[in-house]
Amino acid sequence: MTVLLKVEDLHIFYDSIEALKGISLEVNEGEIVTVLGANGAGKSTLLRAISGLLPIHSGTIQLRGEGLNNVQAYEIVIKGISHAPEGRKVFSTLTVEENLNLGAYIRRKDIKAVSEAKERVFSLFPILKSRRSQLSGTLSGGEQQMLTMGRGLMSTPRILLLDEPSLGLAPLLVKQIFQIIREINDQGISILLVEQNARKALSIADRGYVLETGNITISGLASDLKSNQKVQEAYLGGAALKKRK
């Protein structure tokens, strides 16, 4: 298996506060890797650093061996990393279709490729097709989440960074979103998934990391993490689980 994304000893500061204290992780070609952690553990910080939105204090980020430390955020997406940010950051006063077109901004001149990418997104998220000329701010929370993910796919990335895709969604929608993440992965796109919903994340991931206050404390295969006692207690509601047994 070849390593696609490699983060080594990454330190990130917000002013004088160290948000990431030497993180190392890898995503192999074709994998779904999840990063679990509580609020404020540094999960979003990690993704924002990979996408070039935060200055790197020390450490390295590489995509297929190519260093990304000094690459601007708007160039990172050209390299093949796409980031669907948390909080359904759709461009609310733009239509659904305009949002999707911006997802393919880096090859906006290739009209055919853009419309093909759009059709692929519409086949994953049919609801977006029927809402294409609606302002994205008027979509429901679930639809906005789908738009954020669909927009992230428009650049046909090698790896998609997903930040809390299940946040605030109804259980049925959460199930659907995770199903779609798997479908996206089946199309050959690697996924780095940041989640609080550990149970769901581990059910689709190949491997996982646990992030606690800026450090990675546990890592391993998803199946091992599921049975890891610490993970169970902290993220899977372990105590309740034991009682039921």
Binding site: A73, V77, S82, P85, L94, L102, Y105
Partner: protein, 303 residues
Amino acid sequence: MRIFLEQMINGLTIGSFYALIALGYSMVYGVMKLINFAHGDLFALGSYLGFSLLVWGSAYVTSHVGLAGGMIAAMLIAAIGIGMAGIIVERIAYRPIYPAGRLPAVVSALGVSIFLQNAIMVAWGPRYQAYPVNVVPTVRFEIGGIHITLLQIIILILSFILLALLYYIIQKTTFGAAIRASALDRDTAALMGININTVIFFIFALGPALGGTAGVMVGMYYRQISFTMGWNYGLKAFTATILGGIGNIPGAMVGGLLLGIFEMLGSAYISTAYKDVFVFLILILVLIFRPRGLLGEKVAEKV
């Protein structure tokens, strides 16, 4: 009725000046959250640039390209020159100061405004300057008893073309969507691969370029220009921006045209002496009753 319609035409004419200038305020505010107080003076600089081109170049112009060609050339050169001036102002006076926050940038903008006003005074002198008389032949048409001059027709058509072109770029192209996206959320726009510096370059070139063109139009329309004109027009165009909803491109156009009409109807039916009062009364009323403007978005609460 005849007076009403004639005043409507007059209002639309000066309204299109306001609209063209207002676009520069609105675009810059939308993306940078900065009120570019130097914009009015860039407009004045455009007016003076057009003046010099028409005066100094008049011999060449009349013999080679004709007056109509000279008019187009003056507008084009003013647009390009002021567009470049806009970029230079951004580089020198705003870019180094962004990290310090929004308020210092506004103060810097006021500084540039004072600088430009004085630079114009030094370069062209403190007295009024007069545009040449014969740039556009003074032809009057009468349609159903309503008088309209050839110059007004030219200004209205040209402004309409420019406004339509800008509307198309901002609202219908992917690059326009990128500009609107950068205004909404710069970080997420960067995740799409949008280079914010390209967007900033574009808005600081195009806004002042439209303002400079309006400057030449105002010079031809009123013929008299002064180094302080940027303040007056700038403030009115800024009012138009607020009226339409700041940061909103169609809003700036509608706001400009409406403001011109209000001003003309007010001075025709109430009093010419109070025409500026009507304009700023509107500013006050909008700020009190509808601060987001006619077409503006509801300002989302920041959590």
